[in-house]
């Protein structure tokens, strides 16, 4: 694909739950290697937008294009046809996701959590999958816990495993849905450290977060959402230090 085009394009993304529209047309580009943080008050549609990107939520209108490929639909005669589950699964290989509540597989060890998707979905051999997994666990600092079960780990450790699990699929884009919101305050730092490391390594990341410190240090761009719309968007420090929009200003003033 053309490397000069944005990796991710969201064009006029709308989402209804019943008769309530929660996303009123989101346009967003994410360039390769860029870290974009989405800020905004609860209920502003940040998480819903993120979940539209890997088609965990169906769009009501608009489109998501990853690396030139329309996500979730096939376009023919100006109509969008939703893809079959198997085709959706193939597209999701390129999109890693980290959840607020970790969602590690409770019945699998840490190592199996990281190897299960590459082995099952990409048919990697156990030895290759295990080698990759151990490298990733090393990177998140938890190789010594490979045989543990998720419940034996702290929230911060679980979230680092969840990041390793998503990376094992070698995605082009990583989505983070409030990755530190369910953590005790003293555990937030270890997760953010892994995410910063990932950002430095050039991963394209889209992060819904309330951590302004992380946005300031690691983000290239910041998007501020409110009431299902993008209110303000721009280079991270510009938006954080000198917000132009009144709603962004009041939000940042309250959070700081």
């Amino acid at each position: 694909m053309n490397a000069s085009l944005p990796l991710l394009r969201a064009i006029g993304v709308r989402k209804n739950f019943g008769s309530t529209e929660v996303l009123h047309g989101i346009d967003l580009d994410v360039d390769r290697g860029q870290v974009t943080c989405i800020l905004g008050p609860s209920g502003s549609g940040k998480s819903t937008f993120l979940r539209c990107i890997n088609h965990l939520e169906k769009l009501s209108a608009g489109r998501i294009v990853l690396d030139g490929e329309l996500i979730g639909y096939r376009e023919r005669d100006n109509k969008l046809y939703e893809l079959q589950p198997a085709e959706l699964a193939r597209q999701r290989r390129d999109i890693g996701m980290v959840f607020q509540r970790f969602n590690l597989f409770a019945h699998l060890t840490v190592l199996d959590n990281v190897t299960v998707a590459p082995m099952l979905v990409k048919r990697e051999s156990p030895s290759v999958a295990k080698a990759t997994a151990m490298e990733l666990l090393e990177m998140v600092g938890l190789a010594h816990r490979a045989a543990a079960y998720p419940s034996q780990l702290s929230g911060g450790q679980q979230q680092r495993i969840a990041i390793a699990r998503a990376l094992a699929m070698k995605p082009k884009l990583m989505l983070f849905d409030e990755p530190t919101s369910a953590l005790d305050p003293e555990l937030v730092g270890e997760v953010l450290a892994v995410m910063k490391r990932l950002a430095q390594d050039g991963m394209t990341m889209l992060v819904v977060t309330h951590e302004l410190g992380f946005a300031r240090e690691a983000a290239d761009r910041v998007v501020f959402m409110d009431a299902g719309q993008i209110v303000e968007e721009g280079p991270a420090l510009e938006v954080l230090n000198a917000p132009r929009h009144e709603r962004t200003q009041s939000f940042l003033a309250r959070v700081l």
Partner: protein
């Protein structure tokens, strides 16, 4: 020094005195319950006396029949009916449960209809129905093959069909409960990792649901050991059928029913013992009584902590 309220002692001792260390404590009498207990024991003894001395039961005839080859082969067939129908019912139950949870309304309602029908009609009726199926479906033909239902549906197949189709309906509800007990985030994470829906079910949801499903399956199995006796109405050669066959010839009705009952008691006792062991292992590994489980996730957590003795945080 002030004595705390409630420390006031019995008459005759001054409030400052502490009670003697070796004070005798006499519990309240449970007069009523002991009276009831004595009456009940007398009743039981009286009934036993009547039965034993009544001369109606020829006790000496019972022991030879306990290990009679006919009875033993009946025991064997009862075990086959029990386990074969339970295995088929688990498979059928999984299919029905998955259909019931399907977003396709036709599939979900077909499953609902099946469960409604098979739980809503007596098993005895279903057994007789399958045994007589050739009355309204004399034969089935596909391609060049013609299958005569009369030879296809023997008492054995009719009984097995009825037991497993009926049990599938109950199993479906048990399994559906187990599937719903698995946190939705688990399936969502699998989906985000590019699992297909079938892979998500097989690798993530079902294995976790199994832990919730196993104890009720044990109960159903024990219950099934006795339920199989219903197939004697189509002479399916289970334990009860064999006992009936024998007493039809020698009229030792009570004696052979006692023989059969002894075997049912032995089988259910063994099965209960096995179930107890499985559940103890499960609840030990779950770290608590599974009936009062707060959440499945934390149960699993305990399970893992126990099994691996890890330094769980």
């Amino acid at each position: 020094m002030n004595e705390p309220v409630g420390q006031t002692l019995a008459k005759g001792t001054s409030p400052q005195d502490r009670p003697p260390v070796a004070q005798v404590v006499i519990p309240a009498r449970q007069t009523v319950s002991w009276v009831v207990a004595i009456v009940l024991v007398l009743l039981v003894l009286g009934m036993a006396y009547v039965v034993i001395t009544g001369g109606g039961v020829r006790w000496e005839e019972i022991p030879p029949y306990i290990f009679d080859p006919t009875i033993l082969s009946g025991v064997q067939l009862t075990l086959i009916f029990t386990f074969a129908s339970m295995i088929l019912a688990v498979i059928g139950g999984i299919i029905l449960a998955v259909l019931r949870l399907s977003r396709n309304p036709v599939l979900a309602n077909l499953s609902r209809l099946y469960i409604w029908f098979f739980r809503g009609t007596p098993l005895l009726v279903q057994i007789i129905f399958w045994f007589n199926i050739q009355l309204f479906v004399p034969h089935i033909a596909f391609g060049g093959f013609v299958l005569d239902m009369n030879s296809l549906v023997s008492p054995f197949t009719a009984a097995l069909l009825a037991l497993s189709l009926n049990e599938s309906a109950y199993m479906a509800e048990i399994i559906r409960g187990g599937l719903l007990a698995v946190d939705r985030g688990q399936a969502e994470a699998a989906t985000a990792l590019a699992f297909t829906p079938a892979q998500t079910m097989r690798k993530i949801v079902l294995p976790q649901a199994l832990r919730v499903i196993v104890p009720p399956i044990g109960n159903q199995t024990i219950s099934m050991l006795k339920t199989t006796s219903l197939v004697s109405v189509v002479a399916a050669q289970d334990l009860l059928t064999r006992a009936q066959n024998i007493y039809a010839r020698n009229f030792l009705i009570i004696e052979l029913l006692i023989v059969a009952s002894l075997w049912y008691l032995v089988l259910t006792s063994i099965a209960s013992g096995i179930q107890y062991l499985i559940e103890r292992r499960l609840s030990m590994s779950l770290g608590q009584d599974s009936a009062t489980a707060p959440s499945f996730r934390s149960l699993l957590g305990r399970a893992a902590t126990f099994r691996f003795g890890g330094d769980g945080k």
